[in-house]
């Protein structure tokens, strides 16, 4: 018995809105994606005129919940109540018309249109001839900006605005829909301190007007500064809601990570050799800076940090995909220039990228073609001709060793499961006999069995003296596999933790510093 947007609007206009205790009320939501239970029986309540923060690690389910509230996903089970009335959101437009607006992390504005056009798109005021009344539109925008205390020219083009100002436009747009609920997904991630202060001022202003704000953040200090309440999620489950004045930083971290590490990481302690790769003051302008670390033969260096902390960028730079702005890379004591992946391969590096489909697999080609492509750079080729027999034999051996489940080497890689695709990619790089292996999220989207196999394999490689760098968002994986953990936050290294001293709490502290 969902209420249509027009009915809602009518109800709202009449002022007869039932004085429900909560502005927004989410009950027992469940959402499943193929292979993943993203949200399991989650409930959540937003009070009128409050800022409610959502906290949790990557993959805790915050984003999925937000996307459900914004009408992007439809839940499998459960109900959403707006001011006590059940609603069913089928599209983002649906949500907007019900008074729920979302400000996305990646902003959704049209760069070549003006600020005013962006705000009133689809609802442009028209003159008597049915044409857009630009004068009126700019007036409306100016009024809106005055109300929100935003100093922007309604006629400027969005592409000329800074990220912070674009965010202001997004907020103004959301408010222009007379939204009751505003969802903000890490709104400060690209802002300077001053811009953050201005944003908070606007948020407080909105709050005093009775708007409820759902605020996703990874930053503890913001939580205490702006949020009235917060809810914690973990592994798709709702953990609890508290007033932000009641708790300490440590309490929250414990709530976020409070799970036991399972015994699925067969990490063997092996003798660690000499430094193989040494990185000094590596900088990629605008992305990360001052990154320095060593990796030794037989060592597994874990890199932890939140998504967007620059972990993957560091890996790409070391491998020559995005050459560094400054800094030095030394391999076996020799300083090397790393300006292309080809050079990295020549120096005995291998890189299993984060995104299997985008930068890993040649999906429409077969297992053999996928496995052989990197090693063909300098082996199995005579006078330009590929030694078909030898390379096929080598790939067959590798695929058996890695237990790739495929009917034969002529099967297209797109027909394999995620875990087997990952094994094919690992095989591609093992054929090059790497001395340094970089793994970026090696077990993302892979089921438990294949995960354990990949962990065992990485451990085995370290035992053979390969220096391993492993980036992972999964805390148990980082803690279970690494000899040492480097933690990053916003493009900086915030600390190193030895295997013995590393705990989830310590890593999380460094990751949100």
């Amino acid at each position: 018995m969902a209420v249509s947007p027009t009915t809602m609007a009518a109800v709202r206009a009449s002022g007869a809105v039932p004085k429900a205790e909560y502005l927004l009320n989410v009950e027992n939501i469940r959402k499943e994606f193929p292979g993943v239970l993203a949200l399991d029986d989650v409930s959540f309540r937003l009070k009128r005129g409050t800022v409610h923060a959502l906290m949790g690690e990557n993959g805790a389910g915050k984003s999925t919940l937000m996307k459900i509230l914004a009408g992007i996903y439809v839940p499998d089970q459960g109900e959403v109540f707006l001011k006590g009335l059940p609603i069913r959101l089928k599209s983002p437009l649906d949500a907007l018309e019900n008074g729920i607006a979302m400000i996305h992390q990646e902003l959704n504005l049209m760069p070549f249109m003006t600020v005013a056009e962006n705000i009133w798109i689809r609802r442009e005021p028209k003159n008597m001839f049915g044409f857009v009344d630009h004068g009126k539109m700019f007036e409306m925008t100016a009024d809106l900006f005055t109300r929100l205390n935003i100093a922007l020219d309604p006629e400027s083009q969005v592409r000329d605005l800074s990220v912070a100002n674009r965010q202001m436009v997004e907020i103004a747009k959301a408010v222009s829909y007379e939204s009751d609920v505003l969802i903000m997904d890490e709104p400060t991630s690209a802002l300077t301190e001053r811009e953050v202060a201005h944003l908070f001022e606007i948020i407080r202003n909105l709050r005093s007007q009775g708007i409820g704000i759902v605020y996703i953040t990874h930053k503890m200090n913001e939580l205490f500064e702006i949020a009235d309440e917060f809810s914690v999620f973990r592994d798709g489950r709702y953990i609890g809601t508290h007033a932000s004045t009641d708790v300490t930083r440590d309490d929250i971290i414990k709530m976020m990570v409070g799970r036991e590490i399972t015994q699925m990481f067969p990490k063997e302690i092996v003798p660690i050799g000499d430094v193989v790769l040494s990185v000094k003051d590596l900088v990629l302008k605008g992305v990360f800076s001052g990154v320095s670390f060593d990796v030794r033969a037989g060592e597994i260096l874990g890199i932890a940090g939140l998504v967007g902390s620059g972990r993957s960028n560091v890996a790409e730079t070391i491998f020559g995909v995005t050459p560094a702005t400054s800094g030095s890379i030394t391999i076996n004591g020799k300083s090397v220039a790393m300006s292309s992946p080809n050079q990295a391969i020549q120096h005995g590096m291998a890189f299993i990228t984060e995104d299997r489909k985008e930068t890993g697999c040649l999906l429409i080609l077969d297992v053999l073609e996928n496995m052989q492509i990197a090693v063909l750079q300098d082996r199995f080729v005579k006078f330009g001709f590929v030694a078909e027999k030898e390379i096929s034999a080598a790939c067959k051996v590798m695929s058996d060793k890695l237990r790739v489940k495929t009917p034969n080497l002529q099967e297209r890689v797109e027909n394999l499961s995620g875990g087997n695709q990952q094994k094919v990619l690992i095989g591609r790089w093992l054929l090059t006999n790497p001395k340094i292996l970089i793994l970026d999220e090696p077990t993302r989207g892979i089921d438990v069995g294949a995960k354990a196999e990949i962990h065992r394999l990485v451990s085995e490689l370290a035992k053979q003296g390969v220096a391993v760098i492993m980036i992972s968002s999964e805390m148990p994986e980082v803690l279970g596999m690494s000899d040492r953990i480097m933690v990053m936050h916003e493009g900086r290294v915030t600390g190193f933790l030895d295997r013995d001293e590393a705990t989830q709490v310590k890593v999380m502290e460094l990751a949100s510093k």
Binding site: G35, P341, I364, L365, E369, V386, P407, E414, G449
Partner: protein
């Protein structure tokens, strides 16, 4: 049961269900045979004679096909990388004009270079291939270094190369070519050139590193780069080869006509792309074979010859040709979609 086990199981079932998959060329060959048989039947009904039992007609078909085929071998490789080459027709015109100007006999009244007549065949050959190579390198370098879409880069070359062809002699044809030069266009020679070119690049695509890298770039350019392939250098190579082959086609065209005109090769690029696509090369990249392209070119030749044979109006011929090209792409899109399910 985990999702991986489930997937592995279905993947395991696929081959047994389908049996051994036939090479894709077989289905294209069947289409060719089908079309030929339809013409045969229609021939007996409407014209009262056989379509296939006519050696002269078959010779003409294969001759007509060779020039387009030579170009299509290059274009196929470009399309496999995920690109396109719209310039080949204009490059044919440009190289035909320039190569011919180095192949004029001293007996001709107004040669372009009066002091450079009666040169051995090797000179115009090298000049022609060199011009094609240059055009190809420019295409490749533009695409690889500036990252502009191949469509735009080769469109620019298409317009400019045609301009060069016209400017070269201010529009007048280049005639009075030596017998030595014309020889390459006589008898069965164009066919021989076509088949040799096709054979060489069939081998190159299937058995060399050049071929493996070409497919890898077309399948996923990011992954190819991370795997250590110098994508920029490789793309220049591929476009350069397409340019050389267009140059070769220009030489053969001039030799066949025993004269060169600036309008030679107009719309050849479209026929070449059509031959590749009909032959199973996918415009999304990563898929395609030279054997398919050869059959594709022959299908195009047979279609056109059949229309003439059935006395279909020339205007209809063009209309129907357009429909066939679009249909081939629709079939390709359908094939890609079906694969994903």
């Amino acid at each position: 049961m985990t999702s991986e086990q489930a997937t592995a199981k279905t993947a395991g079932q696929t081959p047994s269900k389908q049996g051994r998959r036939l090479p894709p060329e077989v289905s294209i060959l069947l289409v060719l045979i089908g079309i030929a048989l339809i013409y045969e039947v229609l021939g007996w009904i409407f014209v009262g004679q056989s379509f296939l039992m006519n050696q002269q007609r078959l010779t003409i078909i294969i001759l007509q096909v060779s020039v387009i085929g030579i170009i299509a071998v290059g274009v196929t490789q470009v399309i496999i990388t995920g690109g396109i080459d719209l310039s080949s027709g204009s490059v044919v015109g440009m190289t035909a004009m320039i190569a011919a100007s180095f192949a004029q006999a001293s007996t001709w009244a107004r040669p372009v270079y009066p002091s450079l007549t009666d040169l051995p065949f090797i000179i115009p050959l090298i000049v022609g291939l060199g011009i094609g190579l240059l055009a190809g390198i420019v295409n490749g370098a533009l695409i690889a270094q500036t990252k502009i879409p191949p469509f735009i880069a080769t469109l620019g070359m298409m317009v400019s190369a045609r301009g060069v062809a016209k400017w070269y002699t201010k529009g007048s044809p280049v005639s009075g070519l030596t017998d030595q030069f014309n020889f390459i266009g006589t008898g069965i020679w164009p066919v021989v050139v076509f088949l040799v070119v096709a054979f060489i690049f069939h081998i190159a695509l299937r058995y060399t590193r050049y071929g493996k890298f070409t497919y890898a770039i077309g399948a996923n350019v990011q992954a190819a780069r991370v795997s250590g392939i110098n994508v920029e250098r490789h793309l220049i190579k591929v476009y350069a080869i397409a340019g050389v082959l267009a140059g070769l086609a220009g030489i053969v065209t001039a030799a066949r006509a025993q004269t060169a005109q600036s309008g030679m090769g107009v719309t050849y690029e479209l026929d070449a792309i059509a031959a590749a696509v009909i032959g199973g090369t996918s415009l999304t990249g990563g898929v395609g074979r030279i054997t398919g392209t050869v059959i594709g070119a022959i299908i195009l030749g047979v279609m056109i010859s059949g229309f003439t044979f059935l006395r279909v109006d020339a205007y209809y011929q063009e209309i129907i040709k357009g429909v066939i090209i679009v249909a081939a792409v629709v079939v390709d899109v359908y094939r890609q979609k079906k694969r994903k399910v």
